[in-house]
Symmetry: C2
């Protein structure tokens, strides 16, 4: 809810209007479900507000496709064809993916992730999009494939009003510290624990 009085008003010399235009860095972490799903839900809201949305999935395989990707392709088409909502781009950075080499070549996962981050950093510097989802981005950070300090510096120093949502378990402390909004999704109960299977429309 946008209404209401905040618990404290910061002594930052900004007007309420300026604070409304402050870029948000959000992190969804924890072992529970909903980290990516909530990020895509936020992207849906951003799309509806006319923001230019870009999703970067740091996934195991670029061949894997979640239902949200197909849905956002439709939303992107609505924007292109009818001017409804915002523009949408969806990129996957896993095995078989590279910004610089042909799709499907046998690139190393770590190099692909580093390459992906370099492209995101360029786009942030160039204010290419309004709303970024860096899905499962904590993993290459935890594995040392991408330097956390470099990422945090680039995020904190990003120009303009670019919102960024990062998902994945075990978010590095420096990233949590830098973020404006951090939610931990904790698993209370999961059907696969009792042998249930994933289902179309639910799990993918």
């Amino acid at each position: 809810m946008p209404q209401g009085t905040p618990p404290q008003v910061p002594d930052d010399g900004l007007t309420t209007r300026a604070r409304r235009n402050a870029p948000v860095l959000a992190v969804h972490t924890g072992a529970g479900k909903g980290k990516s799903t909530a990020a895509f839900g936020m992207a849906l809201r951003a799309w509806n507000a006319g923001l230019d949305v870009a999703v970067f999935q740091f996934v195991k395989s670029a061949k894997w496709k979640v239902g949200e990707e197909a849905a956002f392709q439709r939303l992107g088409e609505l924007h292109e064809q009818q001017g409804i909502g915002g523009a949408v781009e969806w990129h996957k950075m896993g095995a078989g993916w590279s910004w610089t080499r042909k799709q499907g070549s046998d690139v190393d996962h770590a190099a692909a992730a580093a390459d992906g981050w370099a492209e995101i950093a360029r786009r942030l510097a160039g204010q290419r999009h309004d709303f970024y989802v860096l899905d499962e981005f904590t993993y290459p950070l935890r594995w040392g494939w991408i330097d956390v300090d470099t990422v945090v510096d680039a995020l904190l120093g990003r120009p303009g009003c670019q919102h960024v949502v990062i998902t994945g378990r075990d978010a590095p402390p420096r990233l949590v510290e830098a973020a404006d909004l951090v939610t931990e999704m904790a698993k209370v109960k999961h059907p696969m624990d009792v042998g249930r299977k994933g289902q179309k429309g639910i799990e993918w």
Copy 2:
């Protein structure tokens, strides 16, 4: 991820295929962000899989409209006009709302919520939709406006393969017990704590 071996295989006499078609009851609770957003993200995935989606928001005012509602209206139009995705319905049960009286009349909140639940129970019994979001539904349960046992019995006894996602803080223990999937969204850090304001495309 739908692949992989579950930690245990239940001795329920069901095939993997049957378990894949088992209806899911999910609860998103906790004081953090993302409960509703993740539910709408799940609904997006369900829509893409061609499921018939219905959202029931138990909100303070039926006049309040989140960005997701507008986006899902577009998705519903895509279904109606081009046969893409699933059908979408979006209902709000707050002050000024009633299934049985004219919109805008001065109905009591508790009666409106009870009335809303009665309609949902009818739809569940009639297998009207494939995927239900009962947004902020824990509040009328906590306030005693709707009987928890009646709700749990109706949910556990619902016929066919109807998925239900319920959101809101302080989910009643009986509901948590009955659910297949429970995620607690815990607040780690929120920008409004330090006086930031809600923003278009982010908060609504």
